[in-house]
Symmetry: C2
Subunit: 356 residues, 2 copies
């Protein structure tokens, strides 16, 4: 059996309970900025080989926790495991983003897609979750995650990354029924995927909607938010997932926080283009907030990193319900020592702030 | 002498005067989606050779007006002419974005920069403005433009395009005095550049702040908005520029519209991630708004383009002060016939809307 949780700051913050110190983790904390990650990735051969090997995925998940006093681990995986399991053939060309061998364009393409079987086609993910939980031994909670239905659809229709995902948007406009069929299959898949991660041991769940912010408000509601809300509903109806806090993160969607908070999620990820004081007002205390330091600040000096960390903590203030994070993933060129500066400053300054 | 203006819808909308039909133009309307543009560009040899040849720049400026009933012409040029004139060595690699041979990184680099002489180093721009005004013969007004100080600084410090302009941001954090020296020189240059365009015949002026939206609210105020406000102030103090409406456009800065409107500009460009009804409320009738169709809509069918055009017009409503545009530049793969559909629908539907 697994050990009881020794550090529950993250879960308490997500439940908006009082805490003496703000918890902190970093999006993409298991990543290329760490030399030990690059060594393990080189051993695996490719990014997908790393993600599909539970022992190596566990190893890289734990690497940042050995260096920094992080308050959470997040499963090392990719947001595109679901479409890969659907047979689209995911690969990562050197220095390029993700590519699908078989993009989804026609009704036949969409109708061919089924919800993957979580304990066979995506078993490697669940094995990684189980192994990480075992290895963490209760030190900090483990966050499971998925891409949002809309963000998965973006890559599946486009076939690769894009500045504007105009092909995916064109499907929404030219054949909305087809787009909705695809998003419906994806919402079912994301729901089943997150439930399986919960059953395997994940203790919080996050949905990354990287491309929701590319949509107009009306299109965001129709094609992105609606399906995240459906996933949250599915999770709330499941015995394994029901009690896990769910974090929704739509990058560039600062204008939609109130509507996102109404989905029943526990928390919202917030990027750095909105002040946390404004974000708190927008959600009116209904959910916790996670964020929101500009990741580019990690390129600045330790002194500036500390100042900007304090600014983010001050902007949220001494209220329950804050999880410190970057506003987007950490970038490869960051000095790991700067991450240590960030994590330590979050703890020491928030402890002062919260004891006032 | 130049002919009197036959179509003054744009200028009247920018002054928030009543109009019977909403004016429309399209960001990057002289661009690669037009086969005749590609032919002229091939003749010029390179993008910069095209921009630096007043006859060819005039030719491509007028091309979209021969096809579509646009209500404005916009000078064909690049946002990076100022740093090029400062000696940074601008080039455009095939299929890549802009590149500077000499990026600006040190205090010595910044102190070497001077305000370019507008009638020598940037004479090709002023010659193009004069020629276009002559050739337009009063048909529609001519919009002059510049990149914003912050957006110019982004490219100058980074040396090229970037997802996050982390090098430019790092300068702001690590050596804010240096960043402010650079931005001060750029604000003076942008002011002089737009005044020279006004003196040469531009009838409205637009400042493109493509990367303001990458900043946190505090950094946006300090490094982007402050310097646009200073440019507006400079323009208002000049006899040639004083009466020209100024349009500010910070992409992704929907949260800052009220502060932008307080600069003394006439209008704000608005991207498609905010509803125009909300944008109108934010600026409280103080400025006109220009936008905001998602450019990706031009990939949809004519029927959908018409529907989405009507949605944008309806979201603004029958109030003075709307200039229809995309929320960002038109992309190369768009069918020119779709632009015709857009322009014609703006005119016919807004005429109905405004006669109610």
């Amino acid at each position: 059996m697994v050990s009881p949780l020794k550090n529950d700051r993250l879960l308490r913050a997500l439940r908006r309970e009082p805490i003496d110190t703000t918890p902190v983790w970093v999006m993409r904390q298991a990543g290329r900025y760490l030399p030990e990650y690059r060594t393990t990735r080189a051993k695996a051969g490719s990014f997908m080989a790393l993600a599909q090997n539970p022992e190596l995925a566990c190893e890289v998940t734990l690497q940042p926790l050995r260096r920094f006093e992080l308050d959470a681990a997040i499963l090392f995986s990719d947001i595109l495991t679901i479409p890969d399991a659907m047979g689209l053939g995911l690969s990562f060309a050197q220095g390029e983003g993700p590519q699908f061998a078989h993009p989804v364009r026609s009704r036949a393409d969409v109708e061919r897609l089924g919800v993957p079987d979580m304990e066979s086609e995506l078993r490697y993910v669940m094995d990684a979750v189980r192994l990480i939980r075992h290895e963490l031994d209760g030190r900090v909670p483990l966050i499971g995650f998925s891409g949002s239905p809309w963000t998965l659809a973006c890559y599946m229709v486009e076939g690769q990354g894009s500045r504007d995902f105009a092909t995916a948007k064109a499907m929404c406009w030219n054949d909305p029924a087809l787009a909705h069929t695809l998003l419906d299959t994806l919402a079912k898949s994301v729901g089943a995927y997150l439930i399986a991660q919960a059953a395997a041991g994940a203790q919080a769940l996050m949905i990354f909607d990287t491309w929701g912010g590319l949509l107009s408000p009306a299109a965001y509601r129709e094609f992105s938010l609606r399906y995240m809300a459906r996933v949250v509903e599915t999770l709330k109806a499941d015995a394994h997932a029901r009690d896990l806090p769910v974090i929704l993160f739509s990058k560039g969607a600062g204008a939609h926080l109130a509507e996102m908070a109404a989905t029943g999620c526990a928390a919202l990820g917030v990027d750095w283009t909105i002040d946390l004081a404004d974000a708190r007002r927008a959600v009116n205390g209904k959910v916790a907030l996670q964020g929101n330091l500009d990741p580019a600040v990690l390129r600045a000096s330790p002194e500036i990193i500390r100042r900007e960390v304090r600014n983010v903590l001050d902007s949220y203030g001494n209220h329950p319900g804050h999880v410190f994070n970057l506003g987007h993933g950490i970038t490869p060129e960051v000095d790991p020592e700067h991450v240590k500066v960030l994590v330590d400053e979050v703890h020491s300054y928030s402890h002062q702030l919260r004891s006032r």
